[in-house]
């Protein structure tokens, strides 16, 4: 029988992501599905798709762990960790510490500081406001009358720098309407929306060391990464599978727990 695999499911506000790692911790496959209103259903769907892609039977998965806002709703999960832990583990899979993980999701943004030994030192989450998150970009796309998927292309055509100064999503929406009336171009406003996200994230915490960007927003809106690099004056690592970073991280947590249990059993002479 093949050595077991470990699956991670990251139940986010927009999408539920899944990742499968093998016994050696190598990423085998990923899958993404809309979360919708049925969190448990979405988790089941994405796990089935993951296993199909990987060509792995459910019996070969030693443990399924969950993360994300819906982590406690995934009743079939064998364990769970917060997104903070999962994204940190995911980022450390690609880059060693010290580093700062900037995770921008649909509903929240997080900054996670990790020391040289790979230990989390602190974290900050956005306040109870959508500014600086994917929801903010959704709202801006609505104001600019484009689909969210078209926002990157629109922003790429920007030629003039426009500042958005409001603190909250609703006020920024009103500000954007005013700027449209003043004749500002949608392309410049789209870029301004990205700059606004970066500004809100940067004011959450002082960024130190190497920066790794994770989450769905940076995966689909690379201008956020470009603007982040300009703001911090250093390259920002955008790992492959940035969107599935939480799922990968929690799959690695499941694997680590399994290893720890095996080691403990071995030490107790029961292995």
């Amino acid at each position: 029988m093949a050595p077991p695999c470990f699956a991670g499911i990251d139940c986010g506000s927009w999408n539920t992501k899944a990742a499968l790692v093998d016994a050696g911790g190598r990423l085998v496959a990923t899958a993404v599905s809309r979360t919708g209103a049925d969190v448990l259903g979405a988790a089941g769907r994405v796990l089935a798709e993951l296993l199909e892609r990987a060509g792995v039977a459910r019996a070969e998965v030693a443990a399924v762990w969950s993360t994300g806002f819906g982590r406690h709703a995934i009743t079939f999960a064998d364990g769970s960790r917060t997104e903070l832990d999962a994204h940190a583990r995911g980022a450390l899979h690609f880059v060693s510490g010290p580093l700062t993980v900037v995770d921008i999701g649909g509903q929240d943004a997080k900054i996670i500081l990790i020391d040289e030994a790979g230990r989390r030192v602190s974290h900050k989450m956005n306040r109870k406001c959508a500014a600086g998150t994917g929801s903010f970009l959704e709202e801006m796309a609505l104001r600019l009358d484009v689909k969210i998927g078209d926002l990157p292309g629109l922003a790429a055509a920007s030629t003039e720098e426009v500042e958005l100064g409001s603190f909250c999503t609703v006020f920024t929406g009103t500000e954007v309407l005013g700027l449209i009336r003043q004749g500002k171009r949608p392309a410049d406003l789209a870029r301004a929306a990205y700059r606004s996200v970066v500004k809100r994230v940067l004011e959450m915490e002082r960024i130190e060391g190497r920066v790794v960007a994770t989450g769905g927003v940076v995966a689909f809106h690379p201008m956020v990464v470009t603007l982040l690099e300009q703001a911090v004056g250093a390259p920002v690592t955008l790992p492959e599978h940035a969107q599935e970073m939480g799922a990968l991280g929690v799959a690695l947590a499941a694997r680590a727990a399994s290893q720890a249990e095996a080691e403990a059993a071995g030490a107790a002479g029961t292995g």
Binding site: L84, R119, R120, S122, K128, A256, A264
Partner: protein, 420 residues
């Protein structure tokens, strides 16, 4: 032989039944005085000069306690909008807006004690040592009921408490006396004031002992239970009943300490809570911390009713000093030194700062203190956004992730446990 299973949560203290009756008796006594006028009734701010009122025979009601009840019962969510509509901003103290809204809506959790509303006072006595809102709060009722509003305008953000600060407060306390005497229709008796200060000091010492017991592992009294058991220290300070209660509670806590860890919930980590409670989420947060086997063992909030300076040999001066030495009235430097002492006394693994949106005076995460303490003490810190009463400012999910993530951080390099 395998160790006996540990309970997931602490069983209630036996003293809780006594506490419940004590609080019920307190509310009934103030209400009766307000209805039958056999004794004068005053409202007093929670860390105001209550000993003057006790010495003059007032029954005393503490509207901040009512605010906490409104928050804990989640009635605040219904009452606050009434005050907002009257011009009291959602950004100011949600105790104030909850309480004034309660009056306007004629809706109160005191109903379960048989009261139709907060007892109507003959006089309102404030001290701004905690915030300016208390004065605005009392002045609303002063206008509404045409009763005198008197108080002390205190110093804030004090570094060292110096003699001239104390002297200024003593002068104000002395100036209050004629009006307090007029409404009470009696003269202030020096011996009665000394006795009231002596009882306040005794209550303070006993309450300190109760809180100090949680230096033991596991802590016999966690923060969430302590916010309930501190009731008498707030509403009966200066009265004998409070001293009697804390003697009882202290003895029971010492029993728990002597019992050790056997039969007690596991305490993998110990945290310190700075800032206000989230009254409407006490149970949820208590359950969350129990589930992740983390004790919130000490707090600034519960220790705010410890008044070391009180001295019956010098009543007014010691009352003045006690009111100025309070944590909430101090500058960042003394606050940091206080927290450093608490971290050391209670041997905590981290500090949680609750940043209450409508209570800037009791939120200490706004001028860089968590970051400074993390650096100075090498201790992990966490800031949780929320509020004392306005649950619209509190995200359950975000708070849970923040707290669980923090405890995962404390686990550090330890093996990842199967589902925490």
């Amino acid at each position: 032989m395998p160790a006996p299973p540990r309970p997931a949560a602490e069983p209630p203290l036996r003293s809780a039944a006594v506490l419940k009756q004590l609080m019920a008796d307190h509310f009934a006594a103030v209400d009766r005085a307000a209805r039958e006028h056999h004794r004068p009734v005053a409202w007093c701010t929670s860390v105001g000069p209550v000993e003057l009122l006790r010495a003059l025979g007032y029954e005393v009601f503490f509207p901040e306690n009512h605010g906490a009840l409104l928050g804990a019962s989640r009635v605040a969510g219904e009452t606050m909008p009434r005050a907002h509509a009257l011009g009291y901003s959602p950004d100011i103290c949600s105790y104030l807006t909850s309480d004034i809204g309660s009056y306007l809506a004629k809706k109160t959790p005191l109903a379960k004690y048989g009261l139709q509303g907060a007892p109507r006072p003959d006089l309102l006595l404030y001290s701004t040592n905690q915030c300016r809102e208390v004065r605005d709060w009392f002045e609303f009722y002063g206008r509404e009921w045409g009763v005198p509003v008197v108080g002390v305008t205190s110093f804030r953000d004090l570094g060292e408490v110096e003699e001239h600060h104390v002297e200024a407060i003593v002068r104000q306390l002395e100036a209050l006396v004629p009006e307090l005497e007029r409404v009470a229709s009696r003269r202030l008796d020096g011996a009665a004031l000394e006795a009231a200060v002596a009882r306040s000091r005794e209550c303070s010492d006993l309450w300190r002992d109760c809180l100090g017991a949680s230096a033991a592992r596991p802590a016999p009294l966690g923060f969430f239970d302590a916010t309930i058991h501190m009731g008498p220290a707030v509403v009966l300070r200066g009265a004998q009943e409070a001293c009697d209660y804390y003697r009882l509670l202290s003895a029971e806590l010492q029993e728990r300490v002597r019992a050790g860890a056997a039969g007690r919930p596991r305490e993998r980590f110990r945290l310190y809570w700075d800032g206000m409670p989230v009254w409407g989420r006490l149970r949820d947060l208590s359950d969350l911390f129990a589930r992740i086997e983390t004790g919130v063992v000490a707090s600034t909030y519960c220790n705010s009713w410890v008044f070391d300076a009180l001295d019956p040999r010098d009543p007014l001066r010691s009352m003045a000093r006690a009111s100025l030495e309070l944590f909430i009235a101090r500058a960042e430097g003394p606050k940091e030194r206080y927290l450093e002492r608490m971290v050391d006394q209670f041997q905590v693994d981290g500090i949680l700062f609750h940043d209450a949106l409508t209570c800037p005076n009791n939120s200490n995460a706004r001028f860089g203190m968590p970051q400074r303490l993390r650096k100075q003490l090498g201790i992990p810190v966490l800031v949780v956004d929320g509020d004392l009463n306005d649950l619209r400012c509190f995200s359950d999910e975000q708070a849970r992730t923040n707290i669980e993530g923090f405890v995962e951080q404390l686990e550090g390099g330890r093996p990842v446990p199967a589902r925490a």
